[in-house]
Symmetry: C2
Subunit: 289 residues, 2 copies
Amino acid sequence: MPDALPDPSAISGTTRLYVVLGDPVAQVRAPGLLNDLFARTARDAVLVPVHVGPEGLGEVMRGLRRIHNLDGILVTVPHKIEVCRYADLLGPAAEVAGSANALRRNPDGTWLADNFDGAGFVHGLRANGHDPAGATVALAGAGGAGRAVAAALLTAGVAQLRLYDPDSARQEDVLARLDARWPGRVRSGVEGDFDGEGDHEGGRVDIAVNATPLGMRPGDPLPFDPARLPRTCVVADIIMKPAETALLKAARDSGRPVVHGRHMLDSQVLLYQQFFALHAPERNGRWEP
Amino acid sequence: MPDALPDPSAISGTTRLYVVLGDPVAQVRAPGLLNDLFARTARDAVLVPVHVGPEGLGEVMRGLRRIHNLDGILVTVPHKIEVCRYADLLGPAAEVAGSANALRRNPDGTWLADNFDGAGFVHGLRANGHDPAGATVALAGAGGAGRAVAAALLTAGVAQLRLYDPDSARQEDVLARLDARWPGRVRSGVEGDFDGEGDHEGGRVDIAVNATPLGMRPGDPLPFDPARLPRTCVVADIIMKPAETALLKAARDSGRPVVHGRHMLDSQVLLYQQFFALHAPERNGRWEP
């Protein structure tokens, strides 16, 4: 819950802008989180949702870059990969993932894109008591968020990452990028990775992650069946709306530990605060997480 | 004062967007007025300022048109003329003025531009007890706002309008447009129009209006000297920040009646409400002004 409610009547001609781009955009939680941060740190700033489809992303990004009082852009499905074209510079996580979820205007006017999905996801796992170091992880989804989660898991010391995506060309492309940086630790996932009690080639799965959009809409099929995972396997989802997907409900009902999507974003607020230099005015020193 | 404060924490992924475009934009009052209206009518909508210069207007407009949850655009200095290029249709006041200060997305996806500066200005004059019907008016400024004010004054029955602009080509162009529609009632203004006790060619001036940007910045010269106007001449300014320009202060100090810029915008809120179909949900019938 917010410590203090922002004062909306405070929006004026001097207010700085932040946006979150998505399609759909109704499900995003960034406005609540960031506007609360702005209020708590007494910043004259507001974040608003911007609903744009793939056909309009280029024109919207070119327009946004021309807005002098726009300081930051958050990005969600399905634009995390394409948006990198409209940045002048890529930060390290965006570079390796080939996708970005945040862009900021630098003091020299250039735009820097980086990706905090992965770091936020790993932070959320740890905050729930599940350190991924040394674990075997099965990850469904090699889109913009999935590849960021993959890179952060490998950075965090995952022993083996099995990546599955229904688009096999995309899956192979992402695997090649990850393998170049973390040789021998990634392999293509198969349906069997999400299956069973550990007697197949790769050994048992410790953590299974959904990074596909399956579960956002009522009636979506499950991305994988949690009942076929080892009993102690942690099941994590990156979907934030609904708060508990059918996948997580099925996992929880069958006694497996779960990590909800909100943790990935909640953990990112601190990272955004650093990226956008949203230091609390009362703190004069360097921002410390 | 607002009847109810908007709840800023209410900005979410479902919020509809309105923007006000300007350069500068820090002085605009539209966010306060419209966000208060949204709160009073319980709409999930927010208006934010967008600072864009002339060099970026085209890209910003093309981008804004691609945003699915953007319903309206307000426009201020210096974009009111150029913005008409990016509309699909012009309303009657925008057509005659050649400038627009509001655009809305129609149900069929087209964008309609219209101009409420003139109607708002005339409404504000009347609300202050000064009916312009039959009056002789001297108007300084033939830019986007000035030509809208000119057209509305002629519609309201002004007997003679004298238009002055330092850009003589612009002045002649606007005069020709107005004369085509209201033959014989407009003529080019000269410095002498703002001078004196009525013994020059055009007769005494009843209302003198500043529609130039002079007075927005400290140290700006006066657009004209109110001390040289007839003692009973009404002096009106369309500048909203500062609330009282040097022109109005000089006019007031010398005992002349004044009309402040805020009245033009205050009067427009009702017109915007109609244009954007922002009916209060509790009223089921047609919106009535």
